[in-house]
């Protein structure tokens, strides 16, 4: 879980312009300036990074970074 949180944090800072010190597990995505379109973009990036498909209905700007991590973990292909 920690590893996924770290990888999400890296994506948010490198691809979505979020300041590094703003990203925490309990950060609300809307507070990080991620609107619903940004979450669609994140879904595309996540597909490449984690090999999972996140649809536009599964995550909203009101969710937190840790919710996103749990969602990705739940969908991750079993090693």
């Amino acid at each position: 879980m920690d590893e996924i949180l770290e990888r999400i944090s890296t994506l948010l800072t490198t691809r979505f312009g979020v300041a590094e010190d703003e990203v925490a597990a309990d950060s609300v995505l809307a507070d990080l300036d991620l609107d619903s379109l940004a979450l669609v973009e994140f879904g595309l990036v996540a597909e490449k990074e984690f090999g999972v498909r996140i649809t536009e209905d599964e995550v909203s700007p009101n969710h937190t970074v840790s919710y996103l991590a749990e969602l990705i973990l739940a969908k991750a292909p079993v090693a």
Partner: protein, 334 residues
């Protein structure tokens, strides 16, 4: 006989004079300039006046493309549009007549926002088959005419306009020769971008449709995802078929549905922003007109120069997608 390739020989564009900027939208709707710009990248769009039609836009752009082609005659006119003047007949024959081209082959092509690139493929095919020698390809739309007056989201995004090119027969090695195409569709997603009523599906019921059914609708978030994935994939296919790599691309001229989709496609293709042609801030999403409008603006602004390797990439309702490549010729837009 000069060979079977279609070579771009003229370029024209036209926008209806009426401009609707974000300030005007903010007076009509509960929205803000900041919200519109952050969601779409658009600060203004052009719209037709009452009584003005897609055919009017097509005639203006077509005339300019013919002027740009310096007297290169035309034996075929193709109008790519989602908003024809009438459901019957097609708009192209009347456009041809108004351009002094009565008698030529003329037809509309429906592939939504992919229509212009699809129409380039059709024109190239007609030239390769020696059915045509010079084709006027026009992308023209007036989507403002199918918008719900209360639809603030689509009224912010969509704009009206037309762009056109003249294709002549030439050699595949010439500047301006269109490269191989990638064309595709996914009809399972037909409902994502639609004007539901007014066609045979609704008319055969014998019942009047609600007003809302006659208006344009788009499932924004789903479309965003499909657009980025399909455009990136289609662009890669066109590049491979042309024998190019992404490093060879000087300019990406993509359908501009939304500035964020455009940026995301650029990211997917690892193209730096300065290689992505962008004019959506001043014209909005102009559907089938977007690519030729962007080409004309880019040449005028000096962002597209003779010899530049250009990747054209479109995505639209259907769903549809289309891509091709060309080396930009020495053509002045009119």
């Amino acid at each position: 006989m000069t060979g079977g390739a279609a070579v771009l020989a003229g370029l024209g564009s036209w926008l209806p004079p009426r401009v609707v900027d974000n300030a005007e939208l903010c007076r009509r709707f509960d929205t803000s300039d900041e919200w519109i710009r952050s969601r779409t990248g658009i600060r203004q769009r052009h719209v037709v006046e009452p009584g003005m039609s897609t055919g009017d836009l097509a005639v203006e752009a077509g005339a300019r493309a013919l002027k740009s082609a310096h007297g290169c005659g035309v034996d075929t006119v193709v109008v790519a549009t989602t908003t024809p003047d009438h459901s019957c007949p097609a708009t192209a024959p009347e456009v041809a007549s108004r351009l002094g081209l009565a008698g030529v082959a003329a037809f509309d092509l429906g592939a939504a926002c992919s229509g212009f690139v699809y129409a380039l493929a059709a024109g190239a095919g007609l030239i390769a088959a020696e059915v045509a020698q010079q084709v006027l390809v026009i992308g023209a739309d007036s989507l403002s005419t199918v918008l719900d007056p209360a639809d603030r989201a689509n009224r912010a995004i969509l704009g009206d306009g037309a762009g056109a090119v003249v294709l002549r027969q030439g050699l595949a090695t010439e500047a301006g020769a269109l490269g191989p195409f990638d064309l595709g569709s996914d009809g399972d997603q037909a409902g994502l971008i639609m004007v539901p009523a007014g066609g045979s599906r609704q008319r055969s019921t014998g019942e009047r449709a609600a007003d809302s059914e006659h208006y344009f609708r788009m499932a924004g978030k789903s479309v965003f995802r499909h657009a980025v994935q399909r455009m990136a994939a289609s662009a890669q296919v066109a590049l491979r078929r042309a024998g190019w790599t992404l490093r060879d691309v000087d300019r990406l001229v993509a359908h501009q549905a939304n500035a964020r989709i455009l940026s995301a496609v650029g990211d997917e293709l690892d193209l730096p922003p300065d290689r992505v042609v962008r004019n959506i801030d001043t014209v909005g999403n102009t559907s089938a007109a977007s690519i030729p409008l962007a080409l004309a603006d880019a040449v005028r602004d000096g962002h597209l120069c003779p010899g530049d390797r250009v990747l054209l990439c479109a995505f639209g309702g259907g769903l549809t997608w289309a891509s091709t490549t060309l080396c930009w010729p020495d053509v002045e837009p009119a």
